[in-house]
């Protein structure tokens, strides 16, 4: 096992609040690595730091051996890091298909003037994008919604669409921010199978934030517990769940 992604002494401060406080961990190639912690622990902030939406106060980020701490946000997808959002950030007034095609954006190489004329190379690229998108639609069973506007889709489908859009970029690492929040039991089950398939069949490394402990136990190789921006424990799901600091944090002491 080799390390795919590494976080070193990462800190993020909002005014007086330390949202992320000296966090260090690394994610191995091919594993499902889950971050747990109470609300406001700083989990989403870590994701936003990785996506470069936030600038860290201190610390560094490495992906595939490359220092990505200074990279602009729109360069992250190209490297092979894709993500979903906890509070669904889909393109509401576009079809599901267009949403997924935006997921392919980091692979577009066509120039604006070529697109204006829709030259053969643009058409070829569009076909290729479409083929990749269809594979993902197939994989996540979204055929029925392909041409639907996102604004009219039920919550569960939007949640899956988030994952689908991330997969369309063919990432090496996918960040899932609470993939099961708001889903019913059945949908959560589907999600857990998909996460396993993403790891085993697609060979994509998963870094996930999740609250549902049964889902966490089912899919995670390693779990990291966070509270007030600090690492409490790191290990298997069971080890972490039994850790006295974690128990205390969840009991609210």
């Amino acid at each position: 096992m080799t390390s795919l992604f590494k976080v070193e002494n990462l800190s993020l401060q909002f005014g007086g609040l330390k949202a992320v406080d000296d966090v260090t961990f690394d994610v191995q190639k091919g594993e499902v690595f889950t971050i747990i912690g109470p609300n406001g622990a700083g989990k989403t902030s870590i994701f936003n730091l990785i996506s470069r939406l936030y600038n860290p106060t201190a610390g560094r980020l490495f992906f595939d051996g490359q220092d990505i701490t200074q990279l602009p946000a729109h360069k992250i997808a190209q490297l092979g890091i894709a993500r979903t959002f906890q509070n669904i950030e889909l393109f509401e007034n576009a079809s599901l298909l267009s949403n997924l095609l935006v997921g392919r954006h980091c692979h577009s190489r066509t120039q604006l003037w070529q697109e204006m004329l829709f030259l053969p190379n643009v058409k070829r690229a569009e076909r290729e994008h479409r083929m990749q998108v269809e594979e993902v639609i197939e994989f996540l069973d979204l055929q029925a919604y392909r041409d639907k506007l996102i604004a009219g889709l039920p919550y569960g489908v939007r949640k899956v669409t988030e994952v689908a859009r991330a997969l369309c970029s063919k990432p090496k690492l996918i960040l899932l921010d609470e993939p099961s929040s708001g889903l019913n039991v059945e949908e959560t089950d589907d999600m857990s199978f998909w996460i396993r398939d993403i790891k085993n069949d697609l060979g994509i490394t998963v870094l996930m934030v999740e609250h549902d402990m049964s889902l966490v136990r089912r899919v995670s190789d390693r779990v990291l517990a966070l509270n007030y921006g600090r690492v409490l424990a790191l290990g298997t799901a069971d080890e972490v769940q039994r850790h006295p600091d974690v128990v205390a944090a969840y009991l609210g002491t």
């Binding site: 602009p72 729109h74 267009s98 269809e134």
Partner: protein, 383 residues
């Protein structure tokens, strides 16, 4: 109702999704081709204005409708295109050269406006574009060596292939139709390519767009540049249609009229820009009609109900006074905007989609089909 069966991916990539659609547009195009032979010269002239407004409508659709950026500065872009064309023509350049340059130069100005606009959202962006518009207006009035200041500038008759093309000639109509058609096709091409999808992505969620690899700054600046360029082309045509340019033609009032094109037409697609342009241009003759006929109509109605001739006369005069009140047009415009924003947020095109769906689904149509659901709040934090 029609089901479009999709048998291969190209169906979604093509300009027309099915043969029926293609024939409809070809038929419409054919009608527009023969129009000069059929309609009155007044109507033909109005149609030319529809085309020019539709060009600006398409440009606004790219910037406002698709990319979600506000602009009340398009009158200024139109002015830059118009003055560039007129100035260069006066200095002996051919139509092909100055027409192209009007678009390119206006596009470059659009890029320059786009850069500072990157830091602004919503109402602040609106104010910035209004200020830009004021600056250009002032520049037009002061830079007398080029624009002839407030006295205004004559535009010579258009010359193409050694032919003089008058502002009311059939050829000018065809020229405008051609420019509009090409612009629409180019815009549709962009919208089915990565750049077009990036526009939509920026409009709906900048956060997600960035994480998908969309360069927000580059995308917005491109939208500004493209939009300004199209308006610049429209400006060159506008110059020839008006044959006279002066700063007071390009005020905020005109920018508002342009925005009305897409508010009324609807920002869902390019159709909206066209419908809106038709509406805005055709409302003028409609209002004139109103002014002439409504007093008489009311008079004869009163007569039918048995009012005395003195009473009828008073009524006619009263309505006459009302319909010819100065500023009535402004009031009606304002009222229309308000009504559309309140009751038809998707504009005429949205209304058309609803009507179409009603007949396709009859009797299964549900009113709630188009109702927007908002079940959760988007995180404002990530912006």
């Amino acid at each position: 109702m029609r089901f479009v069966f999709k048998t291969n991916y190209d169906q979604d990539i093509r300009l027309f999704q099915h043969a029926g659609q293609m024939w409809t547009y070809l038929a419409l195009f054919a009608v527009l081709l023969v129009a000069p032979a059929v309609v009155s010269s007044y109507m033909l002239s109005q149609l030319v204005f529809v085309f020019i407004y539709a060009l600006v409508g398409v440009s606004l659709m790219i910037l406002v409708g698709f990319t979600g950026q506000a602009s009340l500065g398009h009158a200024a872009f139109l002015a830059i295109g118009a003055y560039t064309a007129a100035f260069m023509q006066a200095h002996g350049y051919t139509f092909a050269t100055y027409f192209l340059l009007a678009g390119v130069l206006t596009g470059i100005v659009g890029l320059l406006v786009g850069f500072p606009a990157l830091r602004l959202h919503g109402i602040y962006l609106l104010i910035a574009t209004i200020s830009f518009s004021f600056i250009i207006e002032e520049l037009l009035a002061r830079w007398e060596s080029v624009t002839n200041g407030n006295e205004g500038m004559r535009v010579k008759t258009l010359e193409l292939f050694g032919m003089e093309i008058g502002r009311n000639s059939d050829y000018f109509y065809y020229l405008c139709l051609g420019v509009l058609t090409v612009t629409i096709i180019v815009t549709l091409n962009i919208m089915r390519s990565p750049t077009g999808r990036a526009f939509i992505a920026v409009r709906d969620s900048e956060t997600a767009a960035r994480s998908m690899g969309v360069d927000i700054a580059a995308t917005k600046v491109r939208a500004f540049g493209l939009s300004a360029a199209i308006t610049g082309f429209a400006g060159a045509l506008f110059a020839h249609k008006m044959t006279f340019l002066s700063p007071e033609m390009f005020t905020l009032q005109l920018s508002i009229e342009f925005i009305m094109v897409i508010i009324i037409g609807g920002s869902l697609g390019l159709h909206g820009a066209i419908l809106g342009a038709i509406f805005i241009i055709m409302i003028d003759p409609l209002l004139t009609l109103l002014k002439d006929d409504v007093p008489l109509l009311i008079g004869s109605l009163a007569q039918a109900f048995g009012a005395g001739s003195e009473r009828v006369k008073a009524l006619e005069d009263g309505t006459q006074a009302l319909t010819s009140t100065a500023g009535l047009k402004g009031v009606i415009y304002g009222l229309i905007i308000m009504l559309f924003i309140l009751f038809e947020p998707f504009g005429l095109y949205g209304r058309w989609l609803k009507i179409k769906l009603f007949f396709q689904m009859f009797p299964l149509y549900k009113k709630s089909t188009f109702k927007r659901q908002k079940v959760y709040v988007k995180s404002e934090r990530n912006r």
